[in-house]
């Protein structure tokens, strides 16, 4: 089977000693919304620019539509790109900006106008055609940049943090708009972001990158439920996963020297180590319990009311843990709250390597609702 984009052992280094990307293997399928996510400096933008042809490869193979493109200039790779600052030409009108690339592609005038009409009505830019970019708002500029990319009708579209210059409300709106557009046109999208919420909400598949190395590739839900290592566990999800150092002493799991949970060998079949463990538990799995059911008590440090849910921060040894409860809970900081943790919600990581030893068993028989 042919992949639309295929990377084999791709690496990038500057001046032969600063290694930015280490042997990246990756396949992206046609029609897929693929998100590259990672903190700044992780090499995600570099990887995107290498696919675009704006940066050269230091090693490995890059194939687009089955064709080796390592040394092809950007224009022969049949792709379009949306930049973080939109890269609109300040001296041209919206219309000229959208059509700018088409004349170079030898598209005739009639076809140009036809495509322009389509793109403009799709993006709702009808009234703005004669304006200059500086007369547009951030969201409108964003839409012009999208229209320019759409009008090229290339099968592959690259986006480099396109939403990071917008305010939060508009960002949420553009997320759905981009997603809808991609589905409607059947585009293959490679989308770079540092925002894990964007990655989770938009991607068909996500690749988490850190310090030039792939941490994990998978569906958003899989990354959330079964993180491959501590980095992914703490990077994906908001609020982030609660982590704590733990040891297993006879039949007790001792977390951060403060929480003691009873445990049996059946609970942890994959764990050989008894110390040097880091456990992780999601905020929604730290639940309120009655005094009888409770298996731990913690002091509340801070309460955040979000209206539809309540975020509580607890002190656990040296760590701060967050719990996310649905509804409005009138709790004051300083109170001691009875809580319950189910062992099957706990993920176990090796503290040294950061790799997963045992994923939360509850996540395998998931309450994911599939219709």
């Amino acid at each position: 089977m042919m992949h639309l984009v295929e990377l084999k052992q791709v690496s990038k280094s500057y001046d032969k000693n600063v290694q930015v990307l280490h042997s990246i293997d990756l396949q992206i399928e046609e029609g897929e919304f693929f998100v590259l996510v990672g903190p700044s400096g992780s090499g995600k933008s570099t990887l995107l620019r290498m696919i675009a042809g704006l940066e050269s490869l230091s090693g490995g193979e890059l194939k687009i539509q089955g064709r080796l493109v390592n040394h092809l200039p950007p224009k022969e790779r049949h792709l379009s790109m949306v930049f973080q600052n939109y890269a609109l030409y300040p001296h041209l009108t919206v219309e000229q900006n959208i059509l700018f690339g088409l004349s170079a592609k030898k598209v005739n005038k009639q076809e140009q106008q036809k495509r322009l009409q389509e793109a403009v009505s799709m993006m709702g830019l009808g009234d703005l055609l004669k304006r200059k970019p500086k007369q547009l708002s951030g969201g409108q500029r964003q839409r012009v940049a999208l229209a320019r990319s759409v009008i090229s009708q290339e099968p592959l579209c690259l986006m480099d943090e396109p939403l990071s210059n917008l305010d939060a409300k508009l960002r949420a709106h553009m997320r759905t708009e981009i997603r809808r557009l991609q589905k409607k046109l059947g585009l293959t999208m490679i989308y770079v972001t540092h925002d894990q919420v964007e990655a989770m909400t938009m991607g068909d598949r996500i690749m988490v990158l850190n310090e030039g190395e792939i941490q994990q590739i998978g569906k958003p839900i899989d990354l959330y439920n079964q993180p491959a290592n501590l980095f992914v566990a703490s990077f994906i999800g908001s609020p982030r996963m609660n982590l704590g150092l733990a040891v297993i002493n006879q039949n007790q799991l001792i977390i951060e020297d403060t929480i003691k949970l009873s445990i049996t060998n059946q609970d942890i079949p994959k764990i050989i180590k008894r110390s040097g463990i880091t456990i992780g538990i999601r905020a929604e799995h730290l639940v309120y319990a009655t005094q009888e059911e409770a298996n731990l008590h913690l002091d509340v440090v801070n309460v955040e009311q979000l209206g539809n849910e309540t975020l509580l921060t607890f002190e656990v040894g040296s760590q701060l843990w967050t719990a996310k409860w649905l509804g409005q809970w009138l709790i004051n900081a300083g109170e001691r709250i009875p809580l319950k943790i189910n062992l099957d919600h706990i993920s176990f990581f090796d503290s040294q390597s950061g790799q997963i030893m045992q994923t939360a068993t509850a996540s395998q028989d998931l309450k994911v609702v599939a219709l």
Binding site: A52, G53, M81, A87, L88, Y89, F100, G101, K134
Partner: protein
């Protein structure tokens, strides 16, 4: 900004004074150009009667129109040449990546420290050996490569986001088309500034035209002015001053016109 009236009065008095001192030579020239020789000898500051005799005389006795035309052709040639070569060089220094780019640029800039007078002799040899003495190309060519212009435009081009270039690359737009349709229009304010600067500098140039022209057909107006002075036994200062005023007029015109356009260009601003 609100300035107290007292401060304002003091400030403006100083400004007017400074302006008068700066402007005095030109003002005296202007006054003298209307006076008869007799009046000038008497040391009058303000002419008793305005006569245009001096102006008529300067056009009748000298091929001033020819000189003005020569100056215009030379200045336009130099201006165009400088704009073309500086903008192309600046483009290469900003948008094209090649080994040793910065080193070459610094060498380029270093030539700004060589005064023109130092390179006059080799330049003269070259132009003479090309048989270009007494020709427009001989007058203009040595000034085409201009480190200052390249520097100015490079700084300006650097403000153009590199994403614009990358977006063009992806769309398949080549360097030349990008240069012509994006870089030049976006940088037009700087191009205008440089053009005005180049024109005025060449218009006022003295040494080089003096060396390379011996023929009235190519002599520029600055040399012509000098000739007004030496050809007469007794200098007719009124005529000379009238000539000087005529020479200054195009300079002033360009400054005023350019200023207006410059302000337009500046207020237009660039998109962040």
């Amino acid at each position: 900004m609100t300035i107290p009236l007292r401060t304002k009065i003091i400030l403006y008095t100083l400004l007017v004074l400074a302006a008068l001192i700066m402007f005095a030579p030109l003002l005296i020239t202007f006054m003298m150009s209307f006076m008869s020789g007799q009046e000038i000898m008497m040391g009058n500051m303000i002419p008793t009667s305005f006569s245009l005799e001096n102006y008529v005389a300067v056009f009748q006795r000298f091929p001033l129109v020819r000189y003005l035309l020569n100056s215009l052709v030379m200045s336009l040639l130099i201006m165009t040449g400088q704009l073309i070569i500086s903008s192309l060089a600046a483009y290469a220094f900003v948008f094209i990546e090649f080994k040793g780019r910065d080193l070459i640029f610094f060498l380029f800039i270093a030539t700004m420290m060589v005064p023109f007078e130092a390179s006059v002799i080799p330049n003269f040899h070259t132009i003479r050996d090309l048989n270009w003495l007494n020709s427009y190309q001989g007058l203009a060519l040595p000034f085409f490569a201009m480190a200052f212009g390249t520097f100015l435009l490079r700084q300006n081009f650097k403000q153009i986001p590199k994403e614009l270039k990358e977006a063009s690359q992806i769309a398949g737009i080549g360097d030349l088309k990008f240069f012509l349709t994006v870089v030049l229009p976006v940088a037009k304010t700087s191009l205008l500034t440089l053009g005005v600067y180049g024109f005025l500098t060449s218009w006022n140039m003295y040494l080089w035209p003096l060396l390379t022209t011996t023929d009235d057909r190519f002599r520029t107006v600055q040399i012509g002015l000098r000739q007004l002075q030496s050809q007469e036994q007794l200098n007719e200062w009124g005529v000379i001053m009238a000539g000087a005023i005529i020479v200054v007029i195009p300079t002033l015109m360009i400054l005023f016109l350019g200023q207006k356009r410059l302000q337009q260009g500046l207020t237009e601003g660039a998109l962040k």
